[in-house]
Every structure is written in C-alpha cells, then in structure tokens.
Symmetry: C2
Subunit: 317 residues, 2 copies
C-alpha cells in the first residue's frame, strides 16, 4: 500500500488531496494518514497542507527497494530486492539466499556493511549512506571455468552506468577494478558455489564509492562526488547499473562472450600496458597484450614467453 501511495504522490507532481489518493486505492483517509506517517519514518518528506492535500517533497537518500524498482524495466536484474540498513556483507546474504534457491537477478544491497569484503579475504570500506554496496545472484548455465566472464561483463556494465549517470569516464583495470586517474572508484568481486563441472550459482559483488568524502577512503581511492564535486543519486546510479547488467547478461547468453570482450577492451586501461601480477603461483611481469576467450589476461614476458593469468593483483607499471 505504501508503494502505491508513493506512486500516486510521484505522479501527482504537486499537491493531491487525501480524497484523490484514497479513492483509487479504496482505503480510508485515516489509513492514508497512517501510511503517510510510516513513509515519513522511512525518510520520505511529505508535506500536508489543509485544503491542498499532500505533496512529496523529497525521497530519502536510501537504496529502498521501492525506489530501485520504480521504472527499472529490467528483465532479470533486481526483480527481487533484499535491502538492509546494516549487514555484515551483502555477499554473505547472497550466498545464504542463493543456497536457498533465490531467483536469478536477486539484488542484495545495504547502506553499510560491518564486514564488507574484497578479493582474497580483504576488507572493503563500507561506510554509511555514501556508497553502493550490492550483490547480485546469477545462475548461468555455463561451467565454473567460464565464470570469469561475468567479472568482465560486470566491469563493463558498471563503467557504462557511471559514465551515463555522472559523466565520469572510468577505466577498467583487469580483472576487477574501476579506476579514475589511477585511483580506485569501484571493485567487483565474483564468487561462486559450484560442483566440479556445474555452477550452482554465482554472486557478483560491487562496491562503488559514490558520495564518500576522500578523507573517509583508503589511499589511492576516489569517489564520484570527489570527481564531479557534486552528489550523485545512488538510486539512479544503481538502477542504471542494473539495466546495463541486464542488457549485457542477456547479450552474453544470446551472442556469447565476444561482444563483452570487445567492449571491455575499449574501456580497459590494462591492455598494452606493462604490468606486474602477483598471484598464488608467484609473480610475473611483462606487457598485457590481450584477453583470451575465458577472460584470462595474456602477458608477454620480456623473454618473449606468453603466460596467462585468470586472476591476481595487478600493478600497472
């Protein structure tokens, strides 16, 4: 009912009488009043003026499911939204829900995380009301070895959404970072629950510094607000991320990986650069020359030998 009231208030674009709200929704004016109180508690600023009625002055700066889903228009992503004010990590929740059979495209988002995480067991700065901390459950029908494709796809989607909504041109550092002038704007984390040759589900985690002041971020990090010097609507940005993820995921399923790779190469700052990569097998240095068909990075060492890495820490030297 509150969703419907907000819908009516948004469409009104000005004052609307209690009568005009209550009639189509078939509820009493007392019920309207009670719901208005609830909505105000959530942070909606609703002005009530005698003889004029109600007017929606401002929506809260929160990632509320009803705001995210309003006009979203996706086929898969965010059709279900699970929202937390605070959570240990949206990844933890996603794995729990994924194991219980949550639908593909289920979005878990939070205002803050007490144990936000990055790759390799590292933590991810997740302060309140400043960033986007989200996880998406996917159920691709390919094998575990192809899951790296989703990391690249997600990087493309986030990069495009950031450009569209804020105008900021970020670049993708293989495999999972978005950079602006070599400072980290966002990280993407891909984890999976799998049998030997079958993905049960994948969780894509995205951490994006939206309105975070620089002094609340680690060194070599940046935020959209810092780059543009103005606040960016997190809801609008999250919606655009979901739309781009939706489009690219459908394209991946229909046309395969090549279109994703092509777009990734346009947006990446890694290819053609000299890189040093550290992973469990050790360190390798050389020129990042290409991606292979699984999303692995091909590096030409100074000896001329080509090596491939599926993941690792990259220093662009």
């Amino acid at each position: 009912m509150q969703d419907q009231i907000i819908d009516v208030l948004k469409k009104a674009q000005g004052y609307i009488s209690g009568e005009e709200i209550s009639r189509p929704l078939k509820i009493s004016r007392a019920a309207i009043w009670k719901n208005m109180q609830e909505l105000r508690k959530e942070g909606y600023e609703i002005v009530a003026v005698p003889h004029l009625g109600y007017r929606l002055e401002a929506v809260p700066d929160k990632l509320l499911p009803r705001e995210i889903q309003c006009g979203l228009g996706t086929r898969i992503m965010g059709r279900e939204v699970v929202y937390y004010d605070t959570v240990t990590s949206t990844m933890d929740v996603a794995f729990h829900l994924g194991a219980q059979g949550a639908k593909e495209g289920t979005l878990i988002c939070a205002e803050s995380q007490s144990k936000g995480r990055g790759r390799m067991g590292r933590s991810w700065n997740s302060q309140r009301a400043k960033g986007i901390f989200m996880s998406i459950i996917l159920r691709p029908r390919f094998s575990p070895s192809d899951v790296a494709k989703l990391t690249l796809l997600s990087a493309v989607a986030v990069c495009e959404a950031v450009k569209q909504v804020s105008g900021v041109s970020a670049t993708i550092k293989w495999p999972n970072d978005l950079l602006v002038n070599n400072n980290k704007l966002a990280g993407i984390l891909t984890e999976l629950h799998a049998e030997m040759d079958r993905v049960r589900f994948v969780v894509i985690g995205i951490g994006l510094n939206v309105n975070t002041p620089l002094n609340q971020l680690p060194a070599n990090a940046t935020s959209l607000k810092h780059e543009t010097q103005k606040a960016v609507s997190r809801v609008v940005l999250l919606q655009e991320i979901l739309r781009r993820l939706d489009q690219w995921y459908i394209e991946l399923n229909e046309k395969g990986f090549p279109p994703v790779i092509r777009r990734w190469k346009e947006l990446s700052s890694t290819l053609g650069r000299r890189v040093r990569i550290v992973d469990q097998s050790g360190e390798v240095e050389g020129v990042a020359v290409d991606l292979d068909e699984h999303g692995g990075l091909l590096i030409r060492r100074d000896t001329g030998l080509m090596v491939k890495r599926m993941s690792g820490d990259v220093v662009q030297v």
Copy 2:
C-alpha cells in the same frame, strides 16, 4: 557433564556405584541421577541396581558427537561435530557454517535428510537411522582447479574404511561412486565456494548405505548390511572414515597428489574399461586409460583421439 559420565561408565566395564561416579566429577548423587535420565532419553541404556550401582548396557544407534569423538584421534577431521536428527541436507548446513568461518575438518552429520542431494541437483535417498549422511568442511590452500583431487582422495578414504570395518571390497567408479558388484554403495559430492583463483572452502559430502534394507534403496544400489548380512556400527564406520580422510588429507598436503592417485588406481574399477561419459559438453565414448595430474579422466576414443573429462556421468560399458 553427560560426556564425562558416559566416559566413566564405559571405563567401568561393569557396575559402578553412584558414589564412585560422583566423587571424581564433584557433583551430587542427585545430579548424577538427573543426568542419567537425560542420557536415557538420548537412547543410552543404563541399568541401575540397588547396592551395585549403574551399568552401561548399550549406546544408542545414533551418530552422536560424543560417540564419534570418543577415541577418534584425528588431527583435523571431526574435531568439531555438528549433529542433527533431521536436516534438509548436511551440505546446506556445511555451506552456511563454512561461510561463517567454521574450522577446517568440521563434520556435519544427520540421522536423516529431507532434501539429501547428489551431483547435478539430483536427490539422495536419506532415510532415518540407516545410512551415513555427512559433510566435511575443508580449507585447502590450492586453487579451485585442484579441488577435484579431494573427490578422489575421499573416495579412497571411504573405500578403505568400508573394507576395514565391514570387510566389503568396494571399487571406485570415477569420479565419485563406490560400487559393490556394479551396485552403488556410496556417493561422494564435492562442492566449493570460491573466488576466481582462491578456494574459500570446500565441502565434501558422503552418502553411504550402511544398514539400509534393499527394498528402501533405488535400483542398482546396495548397502553394507545387504552385502554382509549383518548390521554394521555406523559410529565405528564413521570414525574410520574420518581417520582415513585425516591421514590422506595430511599426506596430500605434505607429499602432493601422486600417492592419492596411485591408491585410487588400485581401488578403481574404471581404468582400462570402456566408458561412455555424458556431461554438459555432450557425450564421449572410449577406453578410460588414465587420470591426469588434476584428477581428470583421460579417455581414448576409437579414433585414437584422447579427451579429458573433469566430471560427468559415467556408464561403464
């Protein structure tokens, strides 16, 4: 306290007075009596005779943590035991606990499962008090591509434990079944939670038909009781499985995969046989000639072409 009382009763090997129990444990005889009542509710048969005292007549036919851990002597496996009478699936619990940081070697076992599962989303027959349904959480320090090794290791451990405790010689059908005369005795399921190049944790699931009557099993299945015509203690068998897993896992970490492969080949009925394997990439038929260093099966097709499979459904033709 109940663990300590059972310990004392087991060591007594006959009657022991309330006084003799209560003194070392420093509790009242009334408390002893109360604990005895609780133990009887769990299924322990404790006889009490005036002037003689208490005697342990029988332990319950349940996979109680205190029974499993009594004299276990492992370094990693089963140091923590989580026990359920009924659970959806021990795999589900293991993934939940694994994500929360449960220790390596944590055992989850249950008397029955309402949604016991096998590979590829199939179900696993999990009736009450007849089989062993268990999951073990492991945190190996190798990459996701090496996890198949743990399937083979587990098959070896279970096969050896079955032989030791029941005398039944089962053979291993690649990748994850134990057979007796071509009938299925046990299945092993390996699932993992991983990042791209890092295992967060692995869960090994084992389903073993111990005392299940044939008419409660699917076609082409068998149980130890059917094979030996007598009941097998599930606790003793489970303990031996944990010990063998412990030994082989420590050996894997110290000496690598070759000793596991060698033992697997001795116990397997797949190598040298003509097989047909169906997986997501289609069907392949030929002679199973060898394992590769990751635990993949090498098949020589009739054209002479060698192909490798990491998993799939095998028909030994």
